[in-house]
Structures are given as structure tokens and as C-alpha cells.
Amino acid sequence: TRAPVPPGPAAALLQALGLRDAPQGAPRLRPVPPVMWRLFRRRDPQETRSGSRRMSPGVTLQPCHVEELGVAGNIVRHIPDRGAPTRASDPASAVGHCPEWTVVFDLSAVESAERPSRARLELRFAAAAAPEGGWELSVSQAGQGTGAGPRPVLLRQLVPALGPPVRAELLGTAWARNASWPRSLRLALALRPRTPAACARLAEASLLLVTLDPRLCHPLARPRR
């Protein structure tokens, strides 16, 4: 039983589990985000009550539904920003001249059959001090509208103070629910202080993507008898 698994059956098993290839392993310096641990612990009956398959009384999990986020789905991905390593360290926070950041999310792992139900952009800013009234964040699609006027802004949001991450739903704004998946998503972020004040630094950006793969959701495929 400890002999190496032949490639044929192993590949077939991975395919049945919806994976193209066996992942290579844990990347270095990539901790598991707390939100992913929370979602896992909420879904895992063996974690909820060790040694038993039964859930705690009162806890009923719907199949193909992510309770904590309140949407349908059987796949949740935490996608890190690929633009961070190439981004130069932000210039000193000149008053009124905040830098613009481009964040890049690799969506190549998402299968075309998957239906999106949530795409939550999460941003964490850092600054020495928060200005009165906070900042105004604008998000637009990077690489569009250059040379022909300003880029269309996908969303604007107030960043009130430093602390909890800024969250913004992209589904329906950055791309339509029924649109095909882009291979990657590039967004331009701009932060503008509402009163003359120092700028913040983009410390972290990620995308929490929830999708439903109907091939792996049997309640959808099989009508209830």
C-alpha cells in the first residue's frame, strides 16, 4: 500500500476531484488566511466534534452552500495579489498625491463550468495616521481607457479608518455574473484623502472567490425524490 501510485489511476482520481494536476505543495511564506480556516472549521463535522460524523445540535449545513458568506457554492478560493512583488515600495506619502496601485489576480485555475456567486476584494491599508474623514477609494479596470480619457470607475468606497480590511464586492461591477472568466483580473486602485492628509500604503490585497461547480454538486444534478 506504500508503493508509488501509478500515474493513470492517480490522474483519474484527481480528475474526479476536479483537479487538473496534483498540486506541487505548499508555497513558502504563504500562511493560510484566517477566513479560510474559519470557513473550513464551520464546514467540517469531524473538526466540529472529533470522532463523530454528526454535527452539533442545531447546525445544519446545506449542500453546495457557503453559510458564512450566505451564497451558493462548493469552492472557495483565496487568491493573493500577484502585483505585490513587482510593485515598488510606495513613495513617501506626499500630501494629496497618493500613488495608484495595480493589483493582479490569477484566475487561470477557475474552470469555465464554475458559476461565480461572490468575488470579494479585500484590501488592507497602513498609514502612520488616519486623516479626518478617511480616504475615498476608487477601483477601475487596469489597462482600460488609457489615452482616451479617464478609466471608468467600477466602484467607489469610503475607507473610514485604519484597522479592519476594506471589502468590496466585484461581481456585477468588475465583471458580470454570466460573463466568461478572464485569465487574470487587473485592477487599478486609487486612494484620495478627503481632507489634506498623508496617504496610506497598500499593505495587502486579495480576492475571495466563491463559485459553484454543478458537476461536483449532486443535489443539483439529482432531483430529490
Binding site: G25, A26, R30, Q46, R53, R77, C217
Partner: protein, 119 residues
Amino acid sequence: DAEPVLGGGPGGACRARRLYVSFREVGWHRWVIAPRGFLANYCQGQCALPVTLSGSGGPPALNHAVLRALMHATTPGAADLPCCVPARLSPISVLFFDNSDNVVLRQYEDMVVDECGCR
């Protein structure tokens, strides 16, 4: 890590037996974050009469299975016994790293045998 079957044969009535699947054993521990393994279980046992009629604590057998068991009891060579197979399964969730360095939580249906039945 499977519950041993006594005598090497089908070993009693059809029911769920303990089977623990360790992701380390199958070599997936480098990319599966959690769980380390799970109780998949499996079905084994005989579906002869009267086990098939009683359901053996699990769900009632299909009418077709009862007829096959009756056929086998009256004419053993005419029909095989019904099969002891999973009758109720439940999902598990797996947290892992994919090849794009994403942290992924996927729910997989029908991964754990909760009950077995004669089918």
C-alpha cells in the same frame, strides 16, 4: 486503516465498516492543509435472507434486492445475492493549496459512507 474483516470472508451482515483515509498515506499531505485524513468507511457483509429483509439496522432493502435474495435462497445457482453498497453518504470539505498558490476550500459530495444497504 481499515477495520479487519473476520475470517477473510464477507464477515457477517451488511454494514458500514471503519476505513480511515490518511492523506499522508496517499502522498497528498504536502498540498492538503486540512483535514489530515477522514473516515471514509466502506460497506461489507452478506445480503442473504433474513438480513436483506430486515435491513440490518440500515435503510430498507430495495424490493429488487429482496427478490434476488429470495431467488438465491430457493435456487442458489440461479441468482447472485444482492450487493452490500453505500446507501447514504455525506460530504467532506478539503482545504488545500493549488498550483497557483491559491488557498482553496472545496466541498466534495459522497465521500463518507454513513449507512450501507442491500441493493
